[in-house]
Point group: C2
Chain length 252, copies 2
């Protein structure tokens, strides 16, 4: 399939899942993709790209790596772009083949579980946070936005290319956690205040949907529910902020 048509097609989750390809859009995201040494299927750019030193350097790296490059008009680019004001460059790349089994946990380790978290900006920010705070891997359960959605990819600022993030069903995760002696805690506004010390050496933390919280299966599988105490005048914290506070507080 022609690269432009392919990039347009990949805006749909079904197409990404069928083709196992995703789109990384914008200068910084494409730079991070190249830095991460992942395979790249092709790069699409506008004539504008060569006019900035940063764009020219990126193009040089694309050529050095022997990655197919296609120049298109601004209008054609916009037809494939996810952003409102595109920066004139996007890459199409294979979704890294990652499994739970590849995830090796040290004696003290953290796993993050996304239980139907729906906003792509939140999920991207959470992946960036998990990678920064040394989480071993992040598992997206059904109901969570596709990890390879263009906005998630962009908001993760490269973390998705290095951090072991993958999607799997809840039953597979629960079985894997059990086999790896890793208890699951869930974030819930009615849970116990998150303890300052005494968390298990290995721990998985599940955070839930922006409105509805954790799903019933995850709630049932959780050994403990924990919360961040907040003022009664505020309904909740943003899920990315709450995840950051909990991961930091529960760090090994």
């Amino acid at each position: 399939m022609r690269l432009l048509t392919l990039a347009r097609d990949l805006r749909r989750r079904k197409a990404r899942e069928r083709q196992q390809l995703f789109v990384a859009e914008g200068l910084r995201t494409v730079e991070e993709l190249l830095d991460a040494k992942l395979a790249v299927h092709g790069v699409l750019g506008t004539p504008e790209l060569t006019r900035s030193p940063r764009g020219a350097a990126l193009l040089a790296a694309v050529h050095t790596r022997g990655i197919p490059y296609l120049e298109v008009s601004d209008a054609e680019f916009a037809s494939a772009a996810d952003t409102e004001t595109p920066q004139g460059v996007l890459a199409v790349a294979p979704v890294p083949a990652r499994t739970l089994e590849q995830l090796t946990l040290g004696a003290a380790a953290r796993v993050l579980v996304l239980d139907a978290v729906q906003d792509p900006g939140n999920v991207g920010t959470i992946l960036r946070t998990a990678a920064a705070l040394g989480v071993a891997g992040t598992v997206a359960l059904p109901g969570t936005v596709d990890l390879w959605n263009a906005k998630v990819v962009r908001s993760a600022m490269g973390s998705l290319f290095r951090h072991h993030a993958l999607a799997c069903p809840a039953e597979a995760l629960v079985a894997w956690l059990h086999a790896h002696h890793t208890p699951l805690w869930g974030a819930d506004m009615h849970g116990d205040p998150v303890p300052a010390t005494g968390a298990p050496d290995r721990l998985a933390l599940a955070v839930g949907n922006e409105g509805a919280g954790l799903t019933a299966p995850v709630r049932a599988a959780a050994a403990r529910l924990v919360s961040i105490p907040i003022a009664s005048t505020v309904e909740s914290l943003n899920v990315a902020v709450a995840t950051g506070i909990l991961l930091h507080q529960l760090r090994p």
Copy 2:
């Protein structure tokens, strides 16, 4: 000025500053504004609004409070709206007159300082976080996005209506902190790892611009720079996530 014209005009910061009015857009934001018992200048809605029970309840509250209401067409509403898919209701309200002098600090208290934080979504999320974590007040220094920008108001999810947030120059803040025996700490990626205990009873924490960090005057005024240790593969945390982690870690 007619309400529709006024709402359109208030999309500009200069107009908001001159008129000392702001726009709260969307069902939830207008509900929070009414709940907060702030003065409301007027409400603008589309015919759609009365068709949902939630919209009808909101309109009833508007009428009970004797707030001027104007029904406009979808196209007229869109011309004043800040969102791409408007919910058909917005309110125009006076910017609450808040000063540093009104801010009373307990024996143990936290003040948050925004030092040229520019993204309105980040600032809204930070205000929501500060209110949730019991911060006494938030001070926006020059270079920070206008606190009464429509997207800040929306992202703050009502916190801006209750939390003592205001803008002031750096010199005024530094003098006030000094008079109130409140040391200033700054968040900086090269600072000391943030301590788990031993923070002063009264403390102001400054967080800086998404790209450039703290400004020189704030850096100079800070008694201490603190950081959140992160993995070397990640450039930084999102500023709202970092603020949440620091405020939680440094809570009195």
